[in-house]
C-alpha cells in the first residue's frame, strides 16, 4: 500500500532528488499518503518537533503516532491536534496558518493536498517562519548554511540533477519573491521569465551538466560584453552518503577587475610586440629555460627564415647559432639576478654568410604567463656598418697622424739637410776671411774654398732630390738610355764616392759571370746606386765594409749591395719606399727618406725592380734587377 503510494507520488513529477530538496528548503516538511502514513519528511521536521527518530525512521508510520509529541509545542494542543486531523478531510489549501507556541513564539503552517489527474493522492504539511525563533536551541545546519549563503556576495545557486534550482542566494536573485519562485525552475525558465538572453542560461546549464556527467568541478567564464563584466562560474558536485551525486552548487566570482587588468596587460604585450616589430633592432624574448617565446620580424631579414613561429620554442643559442661564452655568462648573471643589464658585441653569419657584428643588450625578461617564468629579453643591433665606419675613420685618423708625423719629419729633415752644409759654408767663409787677413797663402785657404764648393754641390743634389720627388709624383721623368759596360759603370761610381767613404771604409765589388753591356740611363742609375750605397755605409758605421755583387743572367743583370748594418724593423717594411719615410731605428743618422723611393722609381723606369732582404741589427741586402 505504502509502496503504491510512493510510486504514485513519484508520478507527481516531483524532482527525483526529493530528499535533498526537503533538506535544503529551510522549512519543516511532512508528506503523507492518502492514508496519512508518512512518505517523506526532513531533518528539520524531526528537530522542530523534538522527535527522537530520524526523518527516514518516520517513513511508513501513521502521522497520528507522533501527534501527541508534536502538539506538546503548541499552547493550545487540542486545537492543533484537531486542525491536523480535520484539515485534510476538508481538502482546502491553507497558507500561513499562525500558531502560538508554548515558548511564546509563533509558527506558520501550510497545508496542501496532492492531486494527480484530479485524484487526491496525499498531503503536504509545511511548518515555517521559525528560523530566528523556534530553532534557537536546535542544530539546524541547513538553515544556518542557507542564511550564511545569503550573506555571501558571490551569486550561489544549487541545482538538482534535472538542472532545477533548489536554492539561490540573495546575490543570485535579489528579490525575495523571485527567489522563492525560482525554486524548482530551470535556468531557462528563469531567464525566460526575466527576459534575459537564453544563450547564457544554456551555457550555464551546459556547465552544470558537465559537472553532473564528469562528477567533478568545472570552471566556466561568463562574459557579459554590454556590461563589460566577467564572471568565473565554478560548479561543485555534491554527493550523498552513498556517494551518489545529488546536486551541483554553482558559485560565481566577479573577475571583471582582474579581466580588465589582464586585458590591459595583454594590450601592453601586444603593443610591445608591435613596437618590437617596428624597431631596427632584433628583439628576442625567452622563458626561464631560454626557449624563444618571441622574436620580432627583423630576425627574418638577418636569418633568412620565412616564418617566425619556427623560431619559437628553440633554445636561444640554437636560434642564434653561436657559441659565445661571454654571452652565456652575461645571460647567466641576468637569470640569477646578479645583474640587471649586460651589453656586448656578438658576431654571427647572416643568411648570405656575411659576418655581422651585433651589439647586444641582455636584461631580465617579463612573462605574462607565470608558469613560463621570466626569462631574458635580448636585443641585437646590427653595428656592422657602424663598426666598418669606425674602423675606416680610425684608419683615416691614423693616416692623418702618419701624414702629420711625416710632414714634421720632412721639415726637420730639410732643416737639417740645409743647415749642415750651410754651417760648413758659413764657417769656411769666415775662416777664409780670417786666413786671408792673416796673409795665408793659396794652398792653406784652398781646403776651405773646396769645402764650400762641396757643400754647395751637396745642397744642389739635395734640392735636385726634392725636385725629383715632385717630378716623379707628377710623372714628368723621362729616361735617356746609353749602352755601357755595367761593371765599369758601377766601379766608377764606387771609386768616385765610396773608395773610401768618409769613415775610411772601402766598398768591394764582386762580379759573377762574364760582364755584359746594358742600356741604362746613366744619370738615373748612378743616382739610384749612390743612394743605396750611401745607406749601406751610413747605417753600418763601425761594421764591415759593404760589398757590391754584380751578377749577369740571360735576360737581366743584378746589382746587390750587402751591408752589416742596423737592418729594418718589420713594421717599417711596408712603407720603406714611401717618399720621406725613414725607418724607426735610424735615430740621429741623417737622411732624407728620398733615396730608396727614387731608386725604386728608376728601377721600374728601366723595366726592372728593386728588392731587399733584411734582418734587424744584422744587415740588409738591396738588389737592383734590371734588363739589358
Amino acid at each position: 500500500m505504502t509502496q503504491t503510494n510512493i510510486n504514485n507520488l513519484s508520478k507527481l513529477s516531483y524532482p527525483e532528488d526529493l530528499d535533498f530538496i526537503l533538506e535544503a528548503t529551510g522549512v519543516a516538511v511532512l508528506v503523507e499518503d492518502i492514508d496519512r502514513n508518512v512518505i517523506l519528511t526532513n531533518t528539520l521536521f524531526c528537530n522542530l518537533f523534538e522527535l527522537n527518530q530520524s526523518s527516514t525512521e518516520l517513513i511508513n508510520h501513521p502521522s497520528v503516532e507522533y501527534i501527541s509529541t508534536i502538539s506538546e509545542l503548541f499552547i493550545d494542543k487540542l486545537q492543533f491536534e484537531n486542525f491536523f486531523i480535520e484539515t485534510p478531510k476538508k481538502g482546502n489549501m491553507i497558507s500561513n496558518h499562525t500558531w502560538r507556541l508554548a515558548n511564546g513564539k509563533t509558527l506558520l503552517q501550510d497545508y496542501s493536498p496532492i492531486y494527480n489527474n484530479n485524484t487526491l493522492k496525499g498531503h503536504i504539511w509545511i511548518f515555517k517562519g521559525f528560523q530566528n525563533s523556534l530553532l534557537e536551541n536546535h542544530s539546524n545546519h541547513n538553515g544556518i548554511v542557507e542564511n550564511a549563503l545569503h550573506f555571501i556576495n558571490n551569486p550561489i545557486a544549487i541545482f538538482n540533477t534535472n538542472l532545477q534550482i533548489l536554492f539561490a542566494n540573495k546575490a543570485y536573485v535579489q528579490n525575495d519573491e523571485k527567489r522563492l519562485w525560482i525554486k524548482g525552475k530551470t535556468l531557462q525558465q528563469f531567464f525566460s521569465y526575466e527576459n534575459l538572453p537564453q544563450q547564457i542560461a544554456t551555457a550555464r546549464q551546459e556547465n552544470i551538466s558537465k559537472t553532473i556527467i564528469l562528477k567533478k568541478s568545472t570552471v566556466w567564464y561568463e562574459t557579459c560584453q554590454t556590461e563589460d563584466a566577467c564572471y568565473e562560474r565554478i560548479c561543485y558536485p555534491i554527493f550523498d552518503a552513498t556517494k551518489k551525486l545529488t546536486s551541483v552548487i554553482e558559485v560565481a566570482n566577479d573577475i571583471s577587475a582582474q579581466k580588465k587588468v589582464e586585458k590591459k596587460l595583454q594590450r601592453a604585450v601586444e603593443q610591445f610586440y608591435n613596437l618590437a616589430n617596428s624597431v631596427n633592432t632584433i628583439v628576442l624574448q625567452t622563458n626561464k629555460t631560454l626557449q624563444v617565446e618571441f622574436v620580432n620580424n627583423l630576425w627574418q631579414e638577418i636569418s633568412g627564415s620565412t616564418n617566425n613561429s619556427a623560431s619559437i620554442g628553440k633554445s636561444i643559442f640554437e636560434l642564434l647559432n653561436v657559441t659565445n661564452y661571454d654571452l652565456y655568462q652575461k645571460i647567466f648573471t641576468i637569470l640569477t639576478g646578479a645583474a640587471t643589464n649586460k651589453e656586448g658585441i656578438l658576431a654571427l653569419n647572416d643568411k648570405d654568410e656575411n659576418l655581422k657584428q651585433l651589439s647586444y643588450n641582455v636584461q631580465a625578461g617579463f612573462n605574462v604567463n607565470e608558469e613560463e617564468g621570466d626569462g631574458i629579453l635580448l636585443t641585437l643591433t646590427d653595428v656592422t656598418d657602424k663598426k666598418m665606419q669606425e674602423s675606416h675613420l680610425l684608419e683615416l685618423i691614423k693616416k692623418e697622424k702618419e701624414l702629420n708625423q711625416l710632414k714634421t719629419a720632412f721639415v726637420n729633415m730639410v732643416s737639417h739637410e740645409l743647415r749642415t752644409p750651410l754651417t760648413v759654408i758659413s764657417s769656411s767663409a769666415e775662416i777664409l776671411e780670417l786666413m786671408l787677413k792673416a796673409g795665408k797663402n793659396y794652398e792653406e785657404v784652398c781646403i776651405y774654398t773646396q769645402q764650400i764648393t762641396d757643400e754647395v754641390e751637396k745642397m744642389t743634389a739635395f734640392m735636385q732630390d726634392l725636385l725629383m720627388i715632385s717630378k716623379i709624383e707628377a710623372g714628368k721623368i723621362s729616361i735617356n738610355l746609353s749602352n755601357v759596360n755595367v761593371v765599369n759603370f758601377v766601379q766608377a761610381i764606387v771609386n768616385k764616392s765610396f773608395n773610401p767613404w768618409k769613415d775610411g771604409r772601402k766598398a768591394t765589388v764582386i762580379v759573377k759571370r762574364k760582364p755584359e753591356n746594358a742600356n741604362v740611363d746613366t744619370v738615373n742609375l748612378e743616382h739610384s746606386l749612390v743612394n743605396i750605397l750611401q745607406n749601406a755605409f751610413k747605417y753600418s758605421v763601425g761594421k764591415l765594409s759593404p760589398i757590391i755583387h754584380i751578377g749577369f743572367s740571360k735576360t737581366y743583370y743584378t746589382i746587390s749591395v750587402i751591408d752589416d748594418g742596423i737592418g729594418i724593423p718589420e713594421k717599417d717594411i711596408p712603407k720603406l719606399f714611401t717618399s720621406f719615410f725613414r725607418a724607426s731605428n735610424t735615430g740621429n743618422i741623417s737622411g732624407t727618406g728620398i733615396g730608396l723611393m727614387v731608386a725604386k722609381y728608376f728601377a721600374e723606369q728601366h723595366k726592372g725592380n728593386i728588392s731587399f732582404k733584411t734582418k734587424l741589427n744584422k744587415g740588409s741586402i738591396f738588389t737592383l734587377k734590371l734588363p739589358y
Binding site: N412, S415, H416, R419, T420, L422, T423, V424, I425, S426, S427, S428, E430, I431, L434, M435, A438, Y448, Q451, D454, E455, K502, V541, G587, N588, I589, S590
Partner: protein
C-alpha cells in the same frame, strides 16, 4: 787672446764642421780636442786632463748630444764642465730641452764665428 790656455772638447759627426769649429777656436786662441761621436768624447773625458768647455752636436749616430750631456753630468769628475750645444736642430722645443738638461748655451747651425767665440769666451771665463 785672454783664454788661450783653455782647452775645448768639440763633439761633431760631420767632419767638415768639426774641422772648421776647431780652426775657428784655434784662430781665436783656444786649444781644441776633436771627437767624432759621443762614445769617443766620453773616453776623452775619462782622461786626467779635463777640458774647460764642451761643445757638442745633438744629432749624432749611436749617442745623441743630449745623452752625452746626461753622461757628463752623471759623472762627478765632469759635471762641473760647462756644456754648449751646437746643433742644426733649431726648434725652440729642442733648445729648451737642451737647456733644461743643464747646458749653459745652445747655438744653432749655421753659426757665426763671432757668436761662437763670444759664447765660448763667456763660458770659459765664468
Amino acid at each position: 787672446m785672454t783664454n788661450n790656455q783653455s782647452t775645448i772638447l768639440v763633439i761633431e759627426d760631420e767632419q767638415s764642421i768639426l774641422n772648421n769649429i776647431c780652426t775657428i777656436l784655434q784662430i781665436s786662441g783656444f786649444n781644441s780636442i776633436k771627437a767624432n761621436n759621443g762614445i769617443d768624447a766620453l773616453k776623452i773625458l775619462g782622461e786626467e786632463k779635463k777640458p774647460e768647455l764642451i761643445i757638442c752636436d745633438v744629432m749624432m749616430p749611436e749617442m745623441t748630444g743630449f745623452d752625452v750631456l746626461k753622461s757628463v753630468l752623471d759623472n762627478s769628475e765632469t759635471a762641473h764642465i760647462p756644456f754648449c750645444f751646437l746643433s742644426a736642430r733649431a726648434d725652440v722645443v729642442d733648445i729648451n730641452y737642451g737647456l733644461s738638461l743643464g747646458a749653459k748655451a745652445y747655438i744653432t747651425k749655421p753659426f757665426l764665428a763671432k757668436e761662437l767665440i763670444e759664447t765660448v769666451t763667456e763660458l770659459v771665463t765664468h
